[in-house]
């Protein structure tokens, strides 16, 4: 704007002027920390299903979501057509049967939620907004857990609606549906925490994916193998403690003790009530630990 020739200020102090070139201060509403946290949460949640991203990145989450729901639709169709008095699968067992799908979903989406922020060094940009470390961790954690909850609770909702269509007992079905919801909510928070911790440790997406899958499926495979061997060799006392070493058997132990679910290994029996309390404590400790590790991880990340 200014076309004046710059003058040395000490030569002519009275000719210096500051031009108003029309910049205006922002005087709109400041939406603040809670708004930023909410935005980060909703963006992460949408991102976990590929919404607002390229078509290619929608393929995998939507495919897995479909795979999660199709068996429920089949169960409902069978129940309605053959007029069954009860569904052929328990609400609480559904996630257990489809745990491979849940693991693959988590392995694919947890790294995409946090690893890319680390690799492209966008984390400092987040923290230039009015959010704190706890807000970032809570938003990502909450988004991942909510995405998993949507993935695991939708088939239960389908089953529940289907059971009502098939004129099953409303009160009983609703109670079992509620128990199933509690169980998958616990599962979502636990799995989301574990997935995010493993993904946040590495900026490379591939390694994050492999680490999540390795921890979830391999620990389940190892624990069920050991349980089977302990059962075959009559070390039945050890079985209920072996379940503490894999996330899926932890959830299974909690729901078979407190949520009226049949145990995942019927011939082995579920844990006793005392052991069930320890299962709940371990689940809560793992959730708290994953929050703590994430907070530690983001203390000086990307700076």
């Amino acid at each position: 704007m200014s076309t004046q020739i710059p003058q040395p200020s000490q030569a002519a102090p009275d000719t210096t002027r500051i031009h108003n070139i029309g910049y205006r201060a922002y005087d709109g509403p400041r939406l603040g920390r809670a708004y930023a946290r909410r935005s980060l949460f909703s963006q992460s949640l949408r991102g976990a299903y590929g919404l607002g991203r390229s078509a290619k990145s929608k393929v995998l989450p939507m495919l897995l979501f479909g795979v999660m729901c199709i068996p429920a639709l089949i169960f409902v169709a069978v129940a309605v057509v053959t007029k069954q008095s009860k569904l052929s699968i328990e609400y609480t067992q559904y996630a257990l049967y489809l745990q491979v799908v849940i693991s693959i979903y988590l392995a694919a989406q947890a790294p995409q939620s946090v690893s890319r922020d680390l690799r492209f060094r966008t984390v400092p940009l987040y923290f230039s907004r009015p959010i704190e470390r706890a807000d970032y961790v809570l938003a990502k954690f909450g988004a991942m857990a909510s995405a998993l909850f949507i993935l695991t609770a939708t088939p239960l909702l389908i089953l529940w609606i289907g059971s009502l269509l098939a004129k099953m007992d409303f009160a009983e079905q609703t109670k079992m549906f509620g128990q199933g919801l509690v169980s998958v909510a616990l599962l979502s928070v636990l799995f989301g925490g574990i997935g995010l911790v493993l993904a946040a440790l590495t900026p490379r997406r591939g390694f994050g994916v492999a680490a999540v899958i390795a921890v979830l499926t391999v620990s389940y495979g190892a624990v069920s193998t050991l349980m089977g061997i302990a059962f075959a060799t009559d070390n039945t006392g050890a079985i209920q403690w072996l379940g503490l070493f894999s996330p899926m058997t932890l959830i299974d132990g909690v729901q078979s003790t407190f949520l009226g679910a049949p145990p995942g290994f019927p011939e082995l029996g579920g844990p006793s009530t005392g052991a069930g309390v320890i299962y709940v404590l371990v689940v809560l400790a793992l959730i708290a630990a994953s929050y703590g590790i994430l907070m530690r991880r983001y203390r000086k990340v990307g700076l």
């Binding site: 693959i104 591939g206 680490a211 499926t217 190892a222 061997i229 070390n235």
Partner: protein, 239 residues
């Protein structure tokens, strides 16, 4: 064909810093399980074959194959640093060949060696079980590395696709549909293991000649196709 500099860079990318930890995690788990089974159960040839077949060959080898095979080339394509390698006067086919050798070596070291040790812990190589599964792991390492290296050049989601193949196709469909077993690296490797033990401890659904032919074909075709893909690679922007 083999370029030592490319090999050194690939080894560093695979094993550098904390990345080797996940590669140590799985073999360590196998050894812990083997020790626990031996302590619970004593030496039993059938149990040894079950553990090695169910955990080592069915889970550990494919997982390590996925990590090593896709990790050898995937991250470089993903972050675009492959252009610095491609702009050097090194043939694309020898880049792929070198990375394949490295991936095979890493997979073999981290899967076949622990399988062998676990076999000895489980039953002291009774009825050649340890040797049989080690041979199977070695052979499977070659085919998995070639297959997953190809995936790494084809897709950005190579790790996920590789895991779906290893976990869903081989384990789930393999146990439900008999036909899927004919098209499974695991069964081809088991055919060789069956040849080593001789009797009924290890069974495979595929004849030995078919298995060897398919293994060789998959390895060669996957490697050729991977170098073909790399020779006309276009770098896509981050989604």
């Amino acid at each position: 064909m083999y370029n030592p500099t490319v090999a050194r860079l690939t080894y560093r990318a695979l094993l550098g810093r904390r990345r080797a930890l996940i590669l140590f995690l799985l073999p360590a788990m196998l050894l812990v399980i083997a020790a626990a089974v031996r302590a619970f159960n004593g030496a039993d040839d059938q149990v040894a074959a079950d553990v090695l077949g169910g955990f080592a060959l069915a889970t550990m080898v494919p997982l390590i194959g996925v990590i090593a095979g896709t990790g050898a080339i995937g991250p470089e394509i993903d972050d675009g640093s492959i252009v610095y390698l491609l702009s050097k006067p090194v043939k694309r086919s020898s880049i792929i060949f070198t990375k394949l050798i490295v991936a095979i070596a890493v997979t073999m070291v981290f899967s076949a060696v622990p399988t062998f040790i676990a076999g000895f812990i489980l039953n002291g190589n009774g009825q050649q079980v340890a040797v049989a599964y080690t041979v199977a792991a070695l052979v499977a390492s070659i085919a998995y590395s070639a297959l997953f290296l190809l995936l790494g050049t084809v897709s950005r989601h190579a790790v996920v696709i590789g895991l779906v193949y290893a976990l869903v196709w081989e384990t789930l469909f393999g146990s439900l549909i008999a036909g899927a077993r004919t098209l499974s690296v695991q069964q081809w490797a088991l055919a060789l293991a069956q040849k080593v033990t001789g009797d009924g401890l290890v069974t495979s659904d595929v004849a030995l000649s078919t298995a060897v032919a398919l293994l060789a074909a998959v390895t060669v075709v996957a490697t050729w196709f991977a170098s073909h893909k790399l020779s006309r690679l276009t770098l896509a922007g981050e989604e």
